[in-house]
């Protein structure tokens, strides 16, 4: 399900074409990618800047420092669609307008999470913010690959449950 598609772009190319945007990078050619080239997301409908903004929003809405970007990218890549195009364009424009009013060049240009969170709070009741936030609840936390990062073990039926695998193994009480 994860789209780690680098489409032949070399790490050096990615780095040379990237514009620093927090942990993310806009490559300028229909991709956004991690600066270390660990992953990339192709965009065909919305702009790379818009996708980078949504990705940063995802990290700021549900920040888990131990969860790599690629899981957030999976959670939001669906916004690259005709269905979401107008919502994204208007929403990102409004967020960047709020950023400019607060003295930043853009939402992405605000370096501190604390500042970006204030900008998000100013658009919290908009359909754009609510759509992105609600989508993340399942989009991020329902990825089975994310569960081990939180220690969650998922189903146990296939292993016979926990009756002999620690259902009552607490040792610190």
């Amino acid at each position: 399900m994860t789209k780690h598609d680098l489409r032949g772009l070399t790490r050096r190319q990615l780095l040379s074409r990237s514009l620093a945007a927090g942990a993310l990078a806009v490559t300028g050619a229909g991709f956004i990618a991690a600066p270390n080239a660990a992953w990339a997301v192709e965009v065909t409908v919305i702009t790379p800047d818009q996708m980078a903004t949504i990705l940063q929003m995802a990290r700021d809405i549900y920040p888990h420092d131990q969860v790599p970007d690629q899981f957030y990218a999976v959670a939001v890549k669906g916004y690259d669609s005709e269905y979401h195009k107008a919502l994204v364009a208007e929403g990102v424009a409004a967020l960047d307008a709020a950023a400019k009013a607060a003295g930043f060049d853009s939402y992405l240009a605000a370096g501190w999470e604390e500042d970006r969170v204030k900008l998000l709070q100013s658009i919290e009741t908009t359909p754009f913010f609510q759509t992105v936030r609600a989508g993340l609840v399942t989009g991020l936390y329902n990825q089975k690959e994310v569960w081990p990062i939180f220690g969650y073990q998922g189903e146990s039926f296939s292993q016979g449950g926990y009756i002999e695998r620690g259902f009552n193994d607490i040792d610190w009480l």
């Binding site: 700021d60 809405i61 549900y62 920040p63 888990h64 131990q66 969170v117 936030r133 609840v137 399942t138 991020l140 936390y141 329902n142 994310v146 569960w147 939180f150 220690g151 969650y152 073990q153 998922g154 189903e155 146990s156 039926f157 016979g160 449950g161 926990y162 009756i163 695998r165 620690g166 259902f167 009552n168 193994d169 607490i170 610190w172 009480l173």
Partner: protein, 522 residues
């Protein structure tokens, strides 16, 4: 062996819904030789079909047909189209329930007498009491194989329970144990014992937890007296010009409208769908809906005063391992107005997987206040509050402007907390947090109520016809051959999880219906 009855057979009893009420009633009648057609809106899923994945299982089992909400309850804001987390499947919510099976306390049958009139509440005594119900409770406990009743031992406590128990005892609570559960602690009634797998809410893949889907329903079918039609959505109950019901119209699995004749109709679609069906069955003779001369159909909706407390510790708990509802504190279930509210509440362990914890811990919440809680998911313990809430005339089900896939008005569910509910919930939050702090919790979360699982009271039982919809047998006051067989007949909610009482009432109702049929009175 499985029966097939003709649509024009006007001697069958038609039961609408196959959960704790309808499923049990269907089997009990079939065992007595009564011919039954059970119509179930959902599909049929067996333990091998259940999915141990929270969202995927939700998609398989939950009732997600349209409903609307109103009122000041937070569910109306956070889950506007999902007032309840209940099931659309053969077996109804007995696939999803946690299994807690506790009897009402004697005084809870007489809430108005015990508590006195409470301003803003529409309290009423049940027309039955603990002595009347005791033998039916015993039959229900035997059917469900309830632990700590009869000679059945309790379940072992999991990690979540061990934290909960230690905190409870530190606070001086005495009635603390692993619950009276319809989950086998040893093999019983052809069902195996609990394997501590978790996912009790997603349907027990071992069949260790009782569900009518794989006990009463197939046993009823084996008599040759029960036909279950799944994916049959009842649209309307029909009556003749004497005011007796004569059958039901339903949409079959292909969406075609069918009409099944009936000698008796029993409604067991839960506290939303049952009143909705009675209201949608309005006619020129009954313009306010069937059995609604009192105006009480859809009123007095109760959902229990709920909420959860989750807490984080500095070491792992792994609360999801094992039985979801693994233990109980009953000390606060007493009626003691010195606490600032009437009635009482139970505290019961609960856990959610990571996906549902993200959805329910603080719906709508975001930012580090929220995510640092989930970061310590492994170190989390959890409990659920279930307390008696006040019946109120303004809380309930009305027909919505919204239509379902069949063009029928859906249920709108309106709810406001009563001040007594709020006082009780706040007390329970404080006690739950204190329990966990006594074990060293570093942070606690008073979590708001989920979409309702205990839905009660919208066709309530009353001695006088003007106070409620059904009499002490669940028979509607207005129409002799129309019964209500689910939790909507609850006069008051008591502080206990309702399933055992629904089952006991269904067994008792089957006995009554069969003897009245034999006597020729209905």
């Amino acid at each position: 062996m499985v029966a097939k009855f003709d649509l024009n057979d006007d001697q069958v009893v038609v039961i609408i819904g196959t959960g704790a009420g309808g499923g049990v009633l269907a089997n009990e009648l079939a065992q007595k030789g009564v011919k039954v057609v059970a119509l179930e809106a959902g599909g049929r899923y067996m333990p091998e079909d259940f999915i141990n994945d929270e969202w995927e299982s939700f998609g398989q089992l939950a009732w997600t047909d349209a409903r609307t909400t109103s009122g000041s309850w937070r569910v109306a804001k956070d889950f506007a189209g999902l007032p309840a987390w209940i099931v659309k499947a053969v077996g109804g919510t007995t696939t999803h329930w946690a299994g807690a099976s506790i009897r009402f306390q004697d005084h809870e049958w007489k809430a108005l007498t015990t508590y006195g009139a409470v301003e803003g509440a529409n309290l009423l005594d049940w027309p039955i009491d603990g002595a009347e119900m005791a033998p039916w409770y015993e039959k229900a406990e035997t059917k469900l194989g309830v632990t700590r009743t009869g000679d059945r031992p309790g379940l072992p406590g999991n990690n979540n329970y061990l934290v909960f128990e230690k905190g409870a005892k530190a606070l001086g609570y005495k009635e603390v144990h692993t619950g009276r559960m319809a989950i086998n602690s040893r093999d019983y009634d052809d069902r195996m014992s609990c394997q501590q797998t978790g996912f009790c809410f997603q349907g027990c893949k071992w069949g260790a937890k009782w569900s009518s889907a794989y006990t009463d329903i197939p046993r009823g079918e084996a008599t040759g007296n029960l036909e279950v039609r799944d994916r049959a959505h009842v649209a309307r109950i029909l009556h003749d010009d004497t005011g007796k019901v004569t059958g039901v119209e339903y949409f079959d699995k292909d969406g075609a409208l069918q009409m099944q004749k009936a000698r008796i109709v029993c409604v067991a679609g839960n506290s939303f769908e049952s009143p909705r069906l009675l209201l949608n069955s309005a006619s020129s003779m009954f313009p306010q809906g069937l059995a609604n001369s009192s105006g009480m159909v859809g009123k007095n909706y109760m959902r229990h005063t709920t909420g959860s407390v989750y807490a984080i510790f500095d070491k792992p708990v792994h609360m999801w391992r094992g039985t979801t509802m693994a233990g109980i504190v009953q000390d606060e279930a007493r009626h003691d107005p010195s606490r600032g509210f009437v009635g009482g509440y139970e505290l019961e362990t609960l856990s959610l997987g990571l996906p549902f914890m993200a959805a329910f811990l603080n719906p709508g919440g975001w930012g580090r206040g929220f995510t640092t809680a989930l970061d310590h998911y492994e170190n989390m313990a959890g409990m659920w509050i279930v307390g008696e809430d006040m019946p109120q005339l303004g809380n309930g089900v009305t027909l919505s402007e919204t239509k379902d896939q069949h063009g029928l008005p859906v249920a709108n569910v309106n709810f406001d907390d009563h001040p007594n509910d709020v006082a009780m919930r706040n007390h329970a939050y404080k006690q739950g947090i204190a329990m966990y702090e006594a074990v060293g919790a570093t942070r606690a979360f008073p979590t708001p109520p989920y979409p309702s699982t205990h839905n009660l009271g919208t066709n309530r039982m009353s001695e006088k016809p003007e106070d409620g919809v059904v009499n002490k047998w669940g028979q509607t006051h207005d129409i002799a051959n129309l019964f209500v067989s689910d939790g909507s007949q609850f006069t008051t909610g008591a502080s206990e999880n309702p399933t055992l009482t629904i089952v006991a009432l269904a067994i008792r109702q089957a006995d009554h219906i069969a003897s009245e049929m034999a006597a020729g009175t209905i």
